[in-house]
């Protein structure tokens, strides 16, 4: 097919910029690896299983941070998912038409609030509240490892709560899209068989199951990478603990707090190695979630937007 040189120039010219985006992503992976070689070389796999984090002696173990990240994110997920799904169901299935837009807009507004504002609110409002909660917790409960710890306010519970609030709009807006894409014929079939409203909704959810799981994972990825709001309320103390009340630490938080204080290269490399793991985990979670959402959208015959594909390009 005739491909004019001007066309080729255009394709190449714009392609360079597209390649740049690809390079950035590859660059991140490469740079993170490059800048953590000292730490990888020195500690190897023990890095991930040791709890000692001692910059003075040069002993670094990232276990407390992995623990803190996973604990806070999973807890946040447990809190946020039912609420986010409830919102998605309400907005897409139950609410009167006129309320739909404003409600969707309001929940999306939650997503637009910057992390630092959440952090500020967390420090001055949430933490005192959690502290009060910790103070009134009956002594009997305090003996369980889950509730042990001084009533500082800062700690895992505050972090999980603030993460939950930040995750809700993400999961809910994707879940809403998924539910909107479930063909109404499915719900009609259920109604025609004598289903109640909730039973018909269950059918819709069943149809969109993989997409909804994808939405939940998207929220999980968000929680894993959240830095500022978490570090302001979690207490920043590297310890592995099951307690909701004890201050702990996350991967993102330790990087944020100690990066500029890293006096020697090993210290810096250890921090960056943590960043590398964070990168791998979040990218992995995101990829899985997008795969799930994409596979669900494929199940539904997608409405065809006339592709703007000129004849020559179609044969390219």
């Amino acid at each position: 097919m005739r491909r004019s040189s001007d066309d080729r120039k255009f394709r190449l010219g714009t392609g360079v910029f597209a390649a740049l985006v690809l390079l950035i992503v590859i660059g991140i992976a490469v740079e993170l690896t490059r800048q953590s070689t000292l730490s990888i070389a020195k500690f190897g796999l023990k890095f991930w299983t040791t709890s000692i984090w001692n910059p003075v002696s040069g002993d670094f173990g990232a276990l407390p941070f992995i623990w803190g990240t996973l604990y806070s994110s999973i807890l946040a997920l447990l809190i946020a998912t039912p609420i986010a799904l409830g919102i998605a169901i309400f907005i897409s299935e139950l609410s009167p038409g006129k309320l739909r837009q404003p409600l969707a807009y309001l929940t999306d507004l939650l997503a637009a609030i910057p992390s630092i504002v959440y952090g500020l609110w967390g420090v001055f409002v949430l933490v005192p509240f959690v502290r009060k909660l910790e103070v009134v917790t009956p002594g009997a409960l305090k003996t369980i490892p889950l509730f042990q710890g001084p009533p500082l306010g800062v700690g895992m519970l505050a972090a999980a709560l603030i993460l939950a609030v930040m995750v809700i709009p993400f999961t809910s807006s994707v879940a809403r899209e998924i539910l909107k894409n479930v063909p109404s014929a499915q719900r009609e079939a259920a109604y025609a068989l004598g289903a109640t409203r909730w039973e018909a909704i269950k059918v819709a959810i069943g149809f969109g199951k993989s997409g909804i799981i994808g939405a939940v994972m998207l929220g999980f990825g968000r929680a894993l990478g959240e830095t500022i709001a978490v570090t302001m309320v979690i207490g920043n103390s590297p310890q592995v603990s099951a307690s909701l009340f004890k201050p702990q630490y996350t991967m993102a938080a330790v990087i944020a707090n100690e990066f500029t204080e890293a006096a020697d290269e090993l210290y810096l490399h250890a921090l960056i190695e943590i960043g590398l793991l964070l990168f791998i985990i979040t990218v992995g979670v995101n990829m899985i979630s997008r795969l799930l959402i994409w596979s669900m959208k494929r199940r539904v015959a997608a409405p065809v937007i006339t592709p703007i594909v000129p004849a020559e390009e179609a044969l390219a």
């Binding site: 014929a185 499915q186 719900r187 025609a192 068989l193 289903a195 109640t196 149809f207």
Partner: protein
Amino acid sequence: MMNLVLDPEPKVSVPRMAPIQMNDVQTDSKISVRDFDFFYGPLKVLHGISLEIPARKVTALIGPSGCGKSTFIRSINRMNDIIPEARATGAIVIDGRDVYAGDTDVVELRRKVGMVFQKSNPFPKSIYDNVAYGLRIGGMRNKRQLDELIERSLTRAALWHEVKDRLHASALALSGGQQQRLCIARALAVDPEIVLMDEPASALDPIATSKIEELIYELKDNYTIVIVTHNMQQAARVSDRTAFFMLGRLVEYAETNEIFTKPKEKMTEDYVTGRFG
């Protein structure tokens, strides 16, 4: 589906709605429709529909696109309730109880009145789970009972032999015609008395269509069937009674062969001879 291009002021003169002449002895009416109006918001789409649908016969609803036959059939099992701003006046009486009365339980109604849709819509589950759905939400848990009823339904829908060895395969792996028969089996599983079919074969190839038509013929021994179809030959083949709708009104309702050979209204004659529609 809902492409009601209705003219509130029909330019064609439609005979004043006197009581419909039934051209034969009345059999037991399963569904008795009395002066039924239906509105989407301010738009009136069904005007004073009155007819008696006999038990255990096939009644076909025909008419040009947008004449209201789909809206009407969906009113029988109150599927239109799902649509906001839908309103109905008049009565549809099934077994002596008005479906639109205040104390009607819609969920219960829909177990008694099953529906098959134009495009088959099986759930993304196994064949077994599809047919079992209505039974399960009704509370049936006993596996043996379920197995029996599922076999019976699939047999009645003329699908059993084709799927009996792969009941747990996905319903979506079936062909279009098989999926539609599955949807029929699914509807039959909850043992309705009436089965409504909204253009059940319009999305199918001729062979699958004829299988469905055979099925309908067999089903009427046990069920009252109301079928909407835009295919007049199909109506002629399959039904005992035919009702001709036009612009939201019932124009003529009679024994099928009378509608097609000696219709009383000119409009009916024009339609069935293909002069319009």
